[in-house]
Symmetry: C2
Subunit: 577 residues, 2 copies
């Protein structure tokens, strides 16, 4: 067995074997029967075959049931016939599909003598193992340039009645017997499991991506001097400006918060997984609900946070040498892949809404949703000038409960006005999305606060981490202060207290800001940034990178002779006429 983990070689998200390493091999392991895992798993592990995973189609993404690719079973030859019936049925986007993969897991709608047997996975050879040419019936190619991901050959694939043996359908759950009998899976909820795991891992990845950007911007801000605070006082480190502290420290806090939320979600996943191994599936919907919106919340927070860090670097943040544009391009797709964020929020909202209706009926809720009930009795915030972390968690749970109740009440009002259930739901979705995000935000605050309260920190560290967790919670209260003053939960003067405390915390955190990002412990090679270097030799590094620009290979670029000189000469010629 040979290791094929290419990630250390390719620090970004973008390299042609990435889906071979992850989705292709994982799908075989998760959905293949023992003999399939042995056969295909070993071939993949040894790089005897290079695969990818093709689900998304040109015309179809989030809505799995909308996929058009079909697989029909031919009982005579014991083969499946895979087909793309239209242009919109072409598989589109899978990484490594364009020029690299010679095999592909294809998601297709299984039809058994006309009967729809749902989406199934098939291993389809797409390129000749000797010549690498596309096989007969296979049209495959690269989809062209994207926002980032330059090193990845995302591809398209159209199948024209391509036949594969019956053994190429991954049959751990659904099965097709030789005679064409279709056996339904015992429990299709298990499919949730791996989606949930991937989403959980995205939460932490978002935190780490934001941590990288915050590291770069914070270190640079300690080196960069620009403008004066006191007139003729000399130019100061930009990190000394309150506005810069606001940009940086809120994102440092957010990075810690998201990394923690990822850890908490992963723990929950492990607990639920262990139960599932014992056949207990009841926690699966809760886990699914948590991870769906949390993935959306963390990726949106990360995306805007990275751009804020980049812009906090002024002009030099636009240099690819700053490293931040690549972090953004590598990670912003997390808002869309593995479940489009708005769709994710609505999945969580369905859970919240069910909980809301169960609450209204006085039923008991799963622990994750307890706050929907707990908050009912408490309509005034006990927030005092101490800004106790537990009070802050309560405030976020109040906000989440209120948002959830408001969405539910709009839904009921829409029904009461005589709208169909579908239209009532659609007309309430924006509030439902907001409720799911408020829920995720509350979870993230709670995770951050509990991790700080329970950690075995040195008292000095505990004090700084408490400041940071407080800053994180106060940031959201100021940003969404209308949600917290609703119904008089917080008063204007409490918000004023929050504001004062927030600004005090910026000052308090200033001496530890660089240490807080150093603690993320990214080596220079991983940051890949001239601005975020550990040694602070920013300007030398920028100039060194600039000198290496390919345009500087010659003093006079060939385009001068080819275009610019003739162009300028043409004006001279005209002037002489």
């Amino acid at each position: 067995m040979f290791g094929t983990d290419f990630r250390p070689i390719f620090p970004g998200n973008s390299y042609p074997f990435r889906l071979h390493d992850s989705m292709f091999r994982q799908t075989i392991q998760k959905q293949g029967r023992l003999e399939q895992r042995e056969k295909w798993g070993t071939l993949a592990e040894n790089c005897s075959i290079i695969g990818t995973y093709a689900q998304t189609e040109l015309g179809h993404g989030s809505f799995l049931r909308g996929l058009e690719t079909t697989a029909e079973y031919d009982v005579r030859t014991r083969e499946f016939i895979l087909n793309s019936p239209s242009i919109t049925a072409s598989k589109f986007w899978p990484g490594g599909l364009g020029k690299t993969a010679n095999h592909c897991v294809v998601m297709a709608r299984l039809k058994m003598s006309g009967r729809d047997c749902g989406m199934q996975s098939f291993i389809v050879p797409i390129r000749d193992m000797e010549t690498h040419n596309p096989l007969p019936g296979v049209t495959v190619g690269d989809i062209g340039p994207k926002f980032g991901y330059a090193a990845m050959d995302n591809g398209f694939l159209s199948l024209n009645k391509v036949r594969v043996p019956r053994e190429n359908m991954l049959m751990r759950y659904s099965q097709v017997l030789e005679d064409g009998t279709f056996i339904f899976p015992k429990n299709d909820r298990l499919v949730y499991g791996s989606m949930t795991l991937i989403r959980t891992s995205i939460v932490g990845s978002c935190g780490r991506a934001l941590a990288k950007a915050a590291t770069i911007a914070t270190r640079y801000s300690a080196v960069r001097r620009q403008s004066e605070i006191a007139s003729k006082g000399g130019e100061v480190q930009v990190i000394d400006f309150q506005t810069q502290q606001h940009k940086l420290f809120t994102q440092i806090a957010s990075a810690y918060a998201l990394m923690n939320a990822g850890k908490f979600a992963a723990n929950l996943y492990n607990q639920v997984s262990a139960k599932i191994e014992d056949g207990q599936l009841e926690d699966l919907p809760v886990l699914h609900a948590l991870t769906a919106a949390l993935k959306a919340f963390s990726s949106w927070e990360m995306a805007s946070g990275i751009e804020q860090c980049r812009m906090a670097c002024g002009g030099h943040g636009y240099l690819l040498a700053s490293g931040i544009p690549q972090i953004y391009e590598d990670m912003v797709p997390a808002c869309t892949y593995e479940g489009e964020n708005t769709v994710m929020c609505l999945q969580t909202a369905r859970f919240l809404n069910k909980c809301q209706e169960a609450t209204n009926r006085g039923e008991k809720l799963p622990p994750l949703a307890h706050f929907l009930q707990a908050a009912k009795g408490n309509r005034k915030s006990g927030l005092s000038s101490s800004m106790d972390l537990t009070q802050l968690v309560a405030a976020y749970e109040f906000r989440a409960a209120t948002a959830s109740a408001e969405a539910n009440s709009r839904l009921k009002a829409q029904r009461a006005e005589g709208r169909s259930e579908a239209d009532a739901w659609n007309n309430s979705t924006q509030l439902l999305v907001q409720a799911a995000l408020a829920f995720s935000h509350a979870f993230t605050v709670r995770a951050f606060v509990e991790s700080v309260q329970n950690a075995n920190f040195h008292p000095n560290v505990k004090s700084v981490m408490t400041q940071l967790a407080t800053l994180y919670a106060l940031t959201g209260i100021l940003r969404y202060c209308g949600d917290f003053t609703k119904g008089g939960y917080m008063s204007d003067s409490q918000i004023r207290l929050v504001q004062d405390r927030f600004f005090d915390l910026l000052t308090a955190l200033r001496p530890n800001a660089v240490a807080l990002v150093d603690a993320f412990d990214f080596p220079d090679q991983v940051l890949g940034s001239a601005l975020g270097r550990w040694d602070g030799n920013v300007y030398e590094a920028i100039m060194e990178t600039a000198r290496k620009s390919t345009l500087n290979k010659s003093q006079v670029h060939p385009a001068f002779y080819k275009y610019q000189k003739p162009f300028m000469d043409s004006f001279k010629a005209q002037a002489k006429l």
Copy 2:
């Protein structure tokens, strides 16, 4: 005279002659004396010389006084000696500087026998007119890849005691006589003029960039079908989802709002300019204050708005073929160039703070700041369910006045606590920035509302534009609702009304959404988008672009033979050992 407007050939912001066309020629016209304008202006016009404008240095940006490049006058030879005394003094970023320009306007600190005579502009030849090689003492090159702007050779420039004749200093305002006498400018506030004009034009450009992204996303959302609203009802146009309407329609409204704000600011500029021609300079500070924060507000709104439109296109929004990534990369630098946004907000805040203090003293304010006083008497919103536009403007002016008063009161409190004026200011800057943005937002709402109220529209158009302006105003009230409920100005139930009306407006605008973006009237060539095509043939266009990917020139990419096959073979070889 030959036209050298390359913009129709290069629809983006990025081409090597762009700064020649704009800043280089404009600076000569604005800052040159008649004989300089005739000499250099004509050479530039005829492309006999190709120039750029070099102000920003590697270590210095927004803070003009921090620039390190020096110019010393040598009275013996009647020359200026330009010098970059350190690595951070290197000019860095000017477009076209790297490989294209042979001349450069260099901003440098003039020293006359050791005396500091401020920043002056010098025309410096940097490349040989025949060979295009850098001239002696000149180190020049490209700065390497950036976020976007691939077609632009942004450059660096270091000058080692480079001499230019006395005539090369642009002397419309400051002058150096042959004998070394320095004559101070009569009025340096006039320098504001062109900065103000550029910022004004950025406001409208931001609106147009967002309009392009909104056009693409809206048209695509009318073609794309994804998921069901009613179960088994079939996949619907994604524009029918409330959440999608929220993403799109708020950005359509924002694009109209910013384009209008740009128009209003340009009118104001023209009025003030006309007065300046008559020697009346008193409105210049107001104009400067308005355009500074308005540039910041509009570029930030645009940047997040474009990303929202891109993400509203799902996966295909990440394709460069969608056209949106290029719009973002072309325009997001507007947050940083021509005055970094936070710095801009603080310039406006200084004006607002002065007005605030004048108000506290009971003085009369310039018309643009009247709202700071008017709002004082009215501490309850008259907002009724009709959502009258005039009431909405009042609400925004209340918010701006409150934000401005809060910032001022924090500043006073900081002083009262004994902090120095500089520290008190720094500790209040985040609130001051928020006040400047609230001021810009109020201006933008007023401009939109007045343009709709005063336009000579067909009644049907007026009705839709009224809906759109209302939607724009309500969007901000919901986003910053805590600002509007402060001190009981609006009640929770008024916010609820706003919310209901907002959702009703999304439904009401749905039938006209495509027409509203068609009205922006961008030809397909300008949008450059497979998703935003006027004819709606989205999927064919995406596939056509994909097929043209350079990776598809051969079925098997050369990298297969060079890397992938040997790599796979190496595993086979190991397996045999």
